[in-house]
Amino acid sequence: MLLPRGLRIALRIASAATLAFIYAPIGIIVLYSFNAARVATWPISGLTLDWYARALGNAGIRNALLTSLEAAVGATVVALILGSLVAFAVQRHAFFGRQTLSFVVVLPLALPGIVTGLALNSAFRTLGFDFGLFTIVVGHATFCVVVVFNNVVARLRRTARTAEEASMDLGADTFTTFRRITFPAIRSALLAGALLAFALSFDEIIVTNFTAGAGTQTLPLWIFTNFQRPNNLPLVNVAAVFVLVLSIVPVYVASRLTSGTESTGRT
C-alpha cells in the first residue's frame, strides 16, 4: 500500500518506541541485579557481581530454584504426554465431542488464572491432598497441556500421511511406523512445545500461589514473599533475573525451532 512518506516514518518511529517500551523494564531489572548499592535508586551507584554470589549462596533461593526446576520438568513431562495424546486423537480421529475437547484443553489458559488456582485449591482441600510439589505440578501441567497440543496439532496438520501409509505398505507395524516416520516428523514440534511448557511453568505465580501450600516455594513465590523486605531487595533482583533467563531462553529456542511456521501464540 502506498503511504505518504511522513506517515511511513511516523509508523516506524512508533514501532521503535513500542519495542523500547516493551524491553526497557526488562533491561532495567537486569541492570539493577548488578547494582552495587542495597537500595534501588536511580541512577545506580556502581556495578557488582556480589549479589549473584550471595544469591547462589542463599539457601532459600537455592531451594526455590530447585523446586521450580522440579515443578517445571514434572509439568513439562505430563504436558508432553497428555498434549500429544490429545493432539493425535483430535487430528487423526473423528469422534463425538472433538470440538469440545479442543475447547477444554484451551480453557485453563482462557479463564483468569485466579479461577483455575482457586478451583484446584478447593479440589485439593476437599480431596485431602497435601499441598506441595505434587499439587504444583498438577496445577502447572493443567495449563501447559495446551502449548504442546497446539504445536503437535499444527505439525500433524502439515505432515502428509502418505509417508506413514508407505511405511505400513512396506510391512512396518504401527509402532515401527511411529518410531521411524511419525516421531521424527513431529520431534521438533514436541521439543518446541516442551520448551514453551517449561517456560510457562517456570515463571508462573498466579496458580502456584493457590497450589503450593505453606511449606513449598518456587522461585517466583520466593520473590513474591520477599519483595517487601528491604534487606533482601538485591537478592530479589538477582532471583528475578534467574526467572527471566530461565523462561525467556526456552521461548527463544522454541521460536527458532518452529521458525514462525507454527503457532507460538497462546491459542
Binding site: 500500500m1 503511504l3 506517515l7 509508523l11 516506524r12 512508533a14 514501532s15 513500542t18 519495542l19 517500551f21 516493551i22 523494564p25 526488562i26 532495567i28 531489572i29 535508586t41 536511580w42 497428555l82 495424546l85 490429545v86 486423537a89 480421529h93 469422534f95 477444554v104 480453557l107 485453563p108 482462557a110 483468569p112 488464572g113 479461577v115 482457586l118 478451583a119 478447593s122 479440589a123 501441567a141 497441556v145 505400513m168 507395524d173 504401527t174 517456560a199 510457562l200 515463571d203 505465580i205 498466579i206 500461589n209 520473590i223 513474591f224 519483595f227 530479589v236 528475578a240 527471566l244 523462561s247 525467556i248 521461548v251 521460536s255 514462525g260 507460538t264 501464540g265 497462546r266 491459542t267
Partner: protein, 297 residues
C-alpha cells in the same frame, strides 16, 4: 541376532499393532483415556466443585465448611457496597487497559504486517512473542522498582519538574497495559496481514487517502482481530492480583478473592466473588463470538 524372548515379544507387539489398526476405536480409547481423565475429570471436576463451593458457607464460630446450599455468598457480594465498588473498579480498569493496548498495538502491528521487510518482520514477531510468554512476575517487579520514590521514572522526570504516578491506580493501569500489550499486538498483526492488498489498492484507486482507507477499509476488517486480542487483555486484567499488590494500595477483584482464601479462610465467599470475572468473561466471549472474534484467534 534376536533372542527367542525378543522374538516372542516382537510378535506380540506386532499382533497388538495389527489389532489396533483393525480397531481404530480402541486406538482412540487408548489415546484419550489419560487426557480425559486429567482434563475432564480432574480439571472440569475442580471447576464444578468451585461452582458448588460458592453455594456453601463457613460457620462463623468454628470456621468449618457448611455444605448446605445457600445463596448467602452471592447476596453478600451483590449487596456489600465495598465489593460492588471493587468489582466496578476492576471492570473499568480492564476496559481502560484494553483500549490503551489497542491504541498502542495498532501502529506497530500495522508496520509489521504491511511495511516491514520479511526479515525485519521475523525479528519483530519474535521480539513480541518473547515477552508475551515469559517473565510475568519479573516484569511487574521491574515496574515496582521503576515507579518507586527514588526509582527510574522519577529520576528521568525530575529535571522536567514532573513526578511519576508512584504506587497508584495509574500505576496499575500503566503496568497492566505493559503486561498485556503483546497479547493485543499478535492478533492485530495477524488480522492486518490477512487483508488482501487489492482491497487497499482499490480504495486508493477510488481516491481514498491513507486516513480514509484506514477508517473505512482497514479498521472494519481488523475489528475481529481487535476483539480477539481484547479477550486476552480483558480476562488477564480481571484476574490479576499480583500487579495491584506490587504497584498500588488499591484492591481489585483478584486481591479480594486472594484475601478471602488466605487471610479470611473463606473459600465459599472467594468462589462467589470469583464468579464475577467468570460471568463477565462468559458474556464477553459470547458477544465476541457473535462478532466473529473466534475466527481471528
Amino acid at each position: 541376532m534376536t533372542s527367542p524372548a525378543q522374538n516372542h515379544a516382537g510378535k506380540r507387539l506386532r499382533a497388538l499393532s495389527a489389532a489396533l489398526y483393525r480397531h481404530p476405536r480402541a486406538q482412540l480409547g487408548l489415546l484419550l483415556a489419560a487426557p480425559l481423565g486429567w482434563l475432564v475429570i480432574a480439571y472440569l471436576g475442580s471447576l464444578a466443585l468451585f461452582l458448588i463451593t460458592s453455594l456453601w458457607s463457613v460457620d462463623a464460630k468454628t470456621g468449618n465448611l457448611v455444605t448446605e446450599l445457600t445463596l448467602k455468598n452471592y447476596v453478600t457480594v451483590a449487596t456489600t457496597e465495598v465489593y460492588r465498588t471493587i468489582a466496578i473498579r476492576t471492570v473499568v480498569m480492564a476496559a481502560l487497559v484494553t483500549i490503551t493496548t489497542v491504541v498502542i498495538a495498532f501502529p506497530i502491528a500495522f508496520y509489521m504486517a504491511r511495511l516491514a521487510s520479511s526479515r525485519t518482520r521475523g525479528i519483530l514477531v519474535v521480539s513480541i512473542l518473547l515477552p508475551l510468554w515469559s517473565g510475568y512476575l519479573v516484569k511487574v517487579y521491574a515496574w515496582r522498582l521503576i515507579l518507586s520514590q527514588n526509582g527510574v521514572l522519577n529520576g528521568v522526570l525530575e529535571p522536567f519538574g514532573l513526578n511519576g504516578p508512584g504506587y497508584s491506580d495509574v500505576a496499575v493501569w500503566l503496568v497492566e497495559t505493559y503486561l498485556w500489550l503483546p497479547y493485543m499486538i499478535v492478533p492485530i498483526y495477524a488480522g492486518l496481514e490477512r487483508i488482501p492488498s487489492s482491497l487497499l489498492e482499490a480504495s486508493s484507486d477510488l481516491g481514498g487517502r491513507a486516513l480514509l482507507t484506514f477508517r473505512r477499509v482497514v479498521l472494519p476488517l481488523a475489528l475481529p482481530a481487535v476483539l480477539a486480542g481484547s479477550i486476552f487483555t480483558f480476562s488477564l486484567t480481571l484476574g490479576d492480583y499480583i500487579t495491584p499488590t506490587l504497584v498500588s494500595n488499591t484492591k481489585f477483584i483478584g486481591n479480594v478473592v486472594y484475601d478471602f482464601v488466605g487471610v479470611a479462610g473463606n473459600q465459599p465467599l472467594a468462589a462467589a466473588f470469583a464468579m464475577v470475572p467468570v460471568t463477565i468473561m462468559l458474556v464477553y466471549l459470547f458477544i465476541a463470538r457473535r462478532l466473529g472474534a473466534f475466527e481471528a484467534l
